[in-house]
Symmetry: C2
Subunit: 219 residues, 2 copies
């Protein structure tokens, strides 16, 4: 894990949208190796992170070891926002990954630029809520097939382009969708057999019939 502080005059930073610049010009950069922990559950939550490159997952474990993935974060996404003083999930790098972070408590000393960041963080919190609500519907009322279809569509939309590379393995997909790894695998095979998607390798796919896939995903 390597750290690098950026010396940028905050007063010259232009207003930026989340995902375009966001925290990047203001924060501290760090690199993480595959699987490395960025922060732990129940750790103090005073830092806000943004993905620069790679991808991040947030996870939680039950007392008896069942794992659940809260969300995946890709370049531009903010994560680590909490209502209380502690992180409710742990965050881990999915593969080699670079993030930038700012100390939230320090933003008030940054004047107008601090206000801009505070605002960006609140908007990101509200967007996270919206995503989490969609996720609720997926877990509560969709079949295994619909879950997997939704997931593929979501990630393909997120990255755009024809061919999409999955940054996570089957176990992560399963823990995100509330399924087992075997069921995820079976549904992928089935969707491919039906000609809705095509897998070039187990982490590379292309959507062949977007309309049909979206109809399935809608539930």
């Amino acid at each position: 894990m390597t750290t690098q502080r950026l010396n940028i005059d905050l007063s010259t930073v232009t207003p930026a949208q989340i995902g375009e610049a966001g925290l990047i010009p203001c924060g501290v950069r760090m690199r993480f190796a595959a699987g490395e922990e960025i922060y732990a559950q129940e750790e103090e939550a005073d830092l806000i992170y943004q993905v620069v490159s790679g991808a991040v997952r947030t996870t939680r474990l039950t007392s008896d070891g069942r794992r659940h993935i809260g969300d995946f974060y890709y370049p531009g996404d903010l994560f680590g926002m909490e209502a209380g003083p502690e992180h409710r999930y742990s965050a881990e790098a999915l593969g080699e990954c670079e993030v930038v972070f700012v100390k939230r408590a320090a933003l008030k000393h940054y004047g107008a630029d601090g206000d801009r960041l505070e605002r960006i963080i609140w908007v990101a919190t509200a967007q996270q809520l919206a995503r989490t609500q969609d996720h609720l519907m997926l877990l509560g009322r969709k079949s295994a097939c619909e879950k997997v279809a939704s997931f593929l569509l979501d990630i393909a939309n997120r990255f755009g382009g024809d061919l999409t590379t999955l940054p996570m393995g089957r176990q992560d997909m399963a823990d995100y969708l509330g399924l087992t790894i075997e069921t995820v695998s079976r549904m992928l095979t089935q969707l491919q057999a039906e000609g809705l998607v095509e897998f070039r390798a187990c982490r590379q796919f292309r959507i062949l019939r977007r309309g049909a896939l979206a109809r399935l995903a809608a539930g």
Copy 2:
């Protein structure tokens, strides 16, 4: 549905915590009858609501009619906060219910009191996110029995006291927990048979062995 505007000098309002005063001294009051819609999905979302008395549920439907409940709101709770311009759920009164609302866009004209409300709304949004994340874990990784146990504990903690009255019926519980009404009923019967809870009527219960129930709910 009756509306009543309160004439209170905003400059005299003392700082208040969410749930103690919150929006109540500043907003417009409304009453709703059982089942009445407070706002609709995809309706413009410029109002923030707080429950004064009674209870509220937020619901969503899939294209083929499956229903999903996002959350229940009780006196003191804020609801209706959205990331985008539209409501993502509809909100309905659970039984006779009174709410108060403020127009979010107007808060900036209220000076210090508007700032206080803005802050309260953001905190409520972050708290809603935390609740929704707990709900995710429940839907994704818990058995029917654990779901129902979690639900009873959550609502009993929310209201305190020995005897708890459920403001919602079995169908609402089922749609919140991602189960069917029959499964909810069976699990309630089972929990009662095991001596963990006792139902006096179908909407009134008491927790008999809180530790055991909590252990079940934890998963």
